[in-house]
């Protein structure tokens, strides 16, 4: 049933994005799916796109607040329309910050509780809410991925609404705790989705652990999930 379904990716490049090429390479060469760049001035997501990736970096120099200016650019409005139509949207690191600033995901990311830039491998546990990005993963499964950020301390909205958490920071065995939370995020949140599940923001970098030669392949499993889901479910409409 899956043969012939094309999963077209777009990687967004804002001024100051710096993981766009890594994402492009991993999607095109490792995941082996069609991929193109989408620039910040674009007013539409190209027809036929299945998944838009907002990469990590320092869009607009992190001025004002991380992601704040990128969230107001034309392409982000186009991505909002694309998501409303059921398209998949994955924000990684700065991409997660942009999605929160744009209101596509609830809450906000503030400076790490220890104020330092953290660049290290972490473990994350797959949580229960269904999402295309965890479709091929098991609940409770532990992945190892690198983080690299200063503003990854997730705060839920002030109205008390709880977001749908897709990944939580944990020990290698999957236990939660302050010792395993690298930035002070509430409830050890590493990734959330919108209610529908088709928009996900994550602080770890899946594109930096997609080949064993780079120390791990767990990031591929998140990207592969989106592809599997699209081939099994998404292309029939959601």
């Amino acid at each position: 049933m899956c043969g012939g379904v094309i999963v077209q990716f777009c990687v967004v490049t804002y001024p100051g994005s710096n993981c766009d090429r890594d994402c492009y390479y991993v999607i095109g060469e490792v995941l082996a799916e069609p991929v193109r760049y989408l620039r910040h001035w674009a007013e539409h997501v190209p027809r036929g796109t299945s998944c838009v990736v907002l990469p990590g970096g320092f869009s607009y120099g992190d001025y004002l607040r991380p992601g704040a200016i990128a969230a107001r650019m034309p392409v982000t409005g186009a991505i909002e329309d694309f998501a409303a139509g059921g398209g998949l949207v994955l924000g990684i690191c700065n991409g997660f910050q942009i999605l929160c600033e744009a209101g596509l995901l609830p809450g906000s990311l503030i400076v790490n509780d220890h104020l330092a830039f953290s660049c290290l491998p972490v473990h994350v546990r797959v949580e229960g809410d269904p999402s295309p990005f965890t479709h091929s993963l098991k609940q409770g499964e532990v992945l190892r991925m690198p983080i690299a950020h200063r503003d990854g301390n997730y705060r839920p909205p002030s109205d008390g609404a709880q977001p749908q958490v897709a990944l939580r920071y944990c020990s290698p065995a999957g236990e939660l705790g302050e010792d395993y939370n690298p930035n002070g995020s509430q409830y050890s949140t590493a990734a959330i989705t919108n209610e529908r599940g088709n928009v996900m923001g994550m602080m770890p970098h899946p594109e930096r652990c997609a080949e064993s030669i780079l120390g791990g392949e767990d990031g591929m499993r998140v990207l592969q999930s989106a592809v599997d889901w699209w081939k099994e479910v998404g292309s029939y409409g959601i």
Binding site: L64, S108, I110, V111, N112, L115, N153, R155
Partner: protein, 92 residues
């Protein structure tokens, strides 16, 4: 020749009560460590000074409010207020 008349508005952005403020907590701790034991709490905010041509202060204030809601303030975390700093007066 007519000179341009400007109003200078200041937007002061602060964290909402209860929002975690790691920077403020670190500064509080540092002040206490260097001898300012009386400091109870420091919170960190920022301000924007915005110069806008015109004389109609109400209109300008409404425009600045729109700027706050559109870009300058993250309503999840932050509160703001607007102060008139100068004007209407000729540009300096």
């Amino acid at each position: 020749m007519e000179r341009l008349i400007f109003v200078l508005m200041r937007v002061v952005v602060t964290l909402k009560p209860g929002v975690q403020d790691p920077e403020g907590a670190t500064i509080t701790d540092s002040l206490q460590r260097i001898g300012f034991a009386s400091v109870n709490r420091v919170t960190v905010g920022r301000h924007f000074d915005i110069e806008i041509p015109g004389r109609d202060e109400d209109r300008i204030r409404r425009e600045v409010e729109k700027m706050c809601e559109s870009l300058l303030v993250n309503p999840v975390l932050q509160d703001y207020h607007i102060e008139r700093i100068q004007g209407p007066q000729p540009a300096g």
